[in-house]
């Protein structure tokens, strides 16, 4: 019928009296790798559990492949879930963990052996099939858990913070593997993360969530370059965010945050302006501040400049000689690197003065 794998319509999810997700609408396209991104507690896990059928929605509808599954029990939905903690069966070997679902389905033994071996092969664990989960490393448990879900050929595979329990190095390897696996199998995957760089690197599409509602949906490029709200801009690294004040003289723009204000020599008819640390010019410009912090980060130096509008973060290439803490500097917040945000809803966030 359509190419929509999962459709959430006015989905409301609650724990007792606390509404965790109020009226969510989301279409997940067949075969895509989509990320649910948001800070801890914003309702990512809750949404995922509802799709899997582990949690009953307060109201709303869930469609999978166009069929209403809102009342379908979890074991009949054909949805796979890779738990944050992997949830492997401790008493079974790697092979039997992967075979578990197929045995329940009473598949012929030849088929089970063949499919399990193929699944273990896919995640590179063929040589460890006889080990118990406790005899596997974190990364191996993760892949075993993935294989266990994949052999069931789910319509949708959900992954809850799949990389968060791995160490930094392994995390980068698994990113690549996960993406390759998704391309190879073509299974629709939804993965949850609170790490924006993970979402940007992996996903075809990112759903940015805040307090149970969707703040912005889009490609990684769109989210990174054109965040639509203060929250989204902050999340993708626009660390210097200001409210735009009323222009008294028609000559420029007054921007402020809760510490103070600055006047820019150009016009901006939006509610907020935001700059990444890399977009701030240091060493020349119309504004003056004091360097109060400096951190060396390999290819750049990360400065904190205290100004009349509070602290500004600025990154400068290492080839530029270091500025010492305590020195006065000139800086510019150029129009060219400014992200203009028209986010009336967040206007009240900063109190002037």
């Amino acid at each position: 019928m359509s190419n929509i794998a999962v459709s959430l319509q006015n989905l409301t999810l609650a724990y007792g009296d606390t509404i965790a997700v109020p009226s969510l609408n989301l279409d997940i396209i067949d075969g895509e790798l989509i990320a649910l991104l948001g800070p801890s507690g914003c309702g990512k896990t809750t949404t995922m559990r509802a799709i899997a059928g582990l949690m009953k929605p307060r109201s709303g509808t869930i469609l999978i492949d166009g069929k209403d599954v809102t009342k379908t029990p979890a074991n009949k939905r054909g949805v796979g879930l890779v738990f944050q903690s992997y949830a492997l069966f401790p008493h079974l070997t790697g092979f039997e963990n992967v075979a578990f679902g197929l045995r329940l389905k009473k598949r012929p033994n030849d088929e089970i052996v063949q499919r399990v071996e193929a699944g273990l092969e896919l995640v590179g664990l063929s040589h460890l099939a006889t080990r118990k989960p406790s005899e596997l490393s974190g990364g191996q448990q993760q892949r075993l858990s993935l294989a266990r879900s994949l052999v069931m050929e789910p319509k949708v595979l959900l992954l809850d913070e799949p990389l968060s329990n791995l160490d930094a190095r392994l995390r980068l390897d698994m990113r690549t593997e996960l993406q390759a696996l998704q391309r190879q199998t073509g299974i629709t995957m939804v993965f949850v993360t609170h790490d924006q760089s993970e979402a940007l690197a992996l996903a075809d599409r990112i759903v940015l969530m805040k307090n149970g509602h969707i703040e912005q949906i889009g490609s990684p490029e769109a989210l990174y370059d054109s965040p639509q709200t203060v929250f989204a801009a902050d999340f993708v690294g626009f660390e210097n965010i200001f409210s735009v004040g009323l222009n008294t003289q028609n000559e420029g723009t007054t921007i402020y945050n809760n510490t103070g204000e600055l006047t820019l020599p150009y016009q901006a008819n939006v509610s907020h302006l935001a700059w990444r640390p890399g977009g701030v010019v240091v060493g020349s410009g119309p504004h003056k501040g004091v360097v109060t912090g400096m951190a060396f980060a390999g290819d750049k130096r990360e400065y904190v400049i205290t100004t009349s509008a509070g602290k500004i973060k600025a990154d400068v290439d290492v080839s530029v000689p270091a500025i010492q803490i305590g020195e006065d500097v000139f800086f510019d917040l150029p129009e060219s690197s400014a992200r203009m945000l028209d986010d009336k809803a967040t206007q009240t966030q900063f109190k002037h003065g």
Binding site: A52, L54, A74, N75, F89, P90, H91, G101, L104, M152
Partner: protein, 259 residues
């Protein structure tokens, strides 16, 4: 140095108190004489063999085995689901339930025995065997719930959800994923229950009737009439049985984790 000597002395004394009676019993049973005495009156194995010839011992041993095995199994059939429910669901008053379940451990056996006699056997005309069976089940139940709860608490809850998403219904998730993982806890509960039931005296004392006695009660009765070393021999044999069971359990399960 002085301190090590003092602590060694304390440990030695403690062990002596614990093991001493057991050693006395073993040797008292090895007596060649005809009355219970220590040190034994010469050495022989005759009383250890004579034990098996006493008809009432044979009968009461069978009853005690039946109560220990049957009562403990019944307690597990009730206790495992109860422990599961207490651990997994937000049951209102779970704490109260735990206390009630523990009551037979806390309330003195004499009172439990008297109560059962007064309210079950006398007015309801329960047979003695049935009353004993119910009493032993109730006595073992707290151990079953506690030991099984302990092993459930060590088990992640999400493996059950994982099983459901792979196609299990709730019952299958329990039997295929939960049960195999708390197997050693259940076995530990069984052994603990068995030993508790088998050694039980006060409750059984009240509920024993003519011709229906558990082994410990039968031994008491025997001693009132015949003061020969066979009771010591039997005690030593039972102690070896208990030690053997606990030893095997420790080797195979790491029993001491649960008790």
């Amino acid at each position: 140095m002085g301190q090590t000597w003092a602590s060694r002395l304390i440990i030695f004394t403690t062990l002596l108190f614990l093991v001493g009676p057991f050693i006395i019993i073993i040797f008292a049973g090895l007596s060649a004489g005809s009355s219970l005495a220590f040190p034994p009156d010469g050495l022989s194995l005759k009383w250890y063999l004579a034990v098996f010839e006493v008809e009432s011992f044979r009968q009461s041993f069978v009853l005690s085995m039946f109560l220990a095995v049957g009562g403990t199994l019944t307690a597990l059939v009730i206790g495992v689901p109860a422990a599961y429910a207490i651990c997994r669901y937000n049951i209102p008053g779970a704490e109260t339930i735990k206390i009630i379940v523990a009551a037979p451990i806390i309330v003195p056996g004499i009172i439990v025995g008297l109560a059962l006699l007064r309210y079950l056997v006398v007015p309801l005309e329960f047979t003695v065997t049935l009353a004993l069976f119910l009493a032993h089940t109730a006595l073992v139940l707290p151990y079953a719930v506690r030991v099984v709860s302990a092993s459930l608490q060590n088990l992640r809850t999400d493996i059950e959800e994982a099983a459901v998403l792979l196609g299990c219904n709730r019952l299958q998730a329990f039997t295929k994923v939960i049960l195999p993982n708390i197997r050693s806890g259940i076995l530990a509960a069984f052994i603990l229950g068995f030993v508790t039931s088998f050694n039980q005296v006060p409750v059984s004392l009240f509920l024993s009737g003519p011709g229906v006695r558990t082994l410990p009660i039968d031994m008491l009765a025997y001693m009132e009439i015949t003061y020969d070393p066979s009771v010591a021999a039997l005690s030593a044999l039972l102690a070896f049985l208990s030690i053997g069971i606990v030893f095997i359990a420790e080797k195979t399960l790491g029993f001491s984790r649960y008790v």
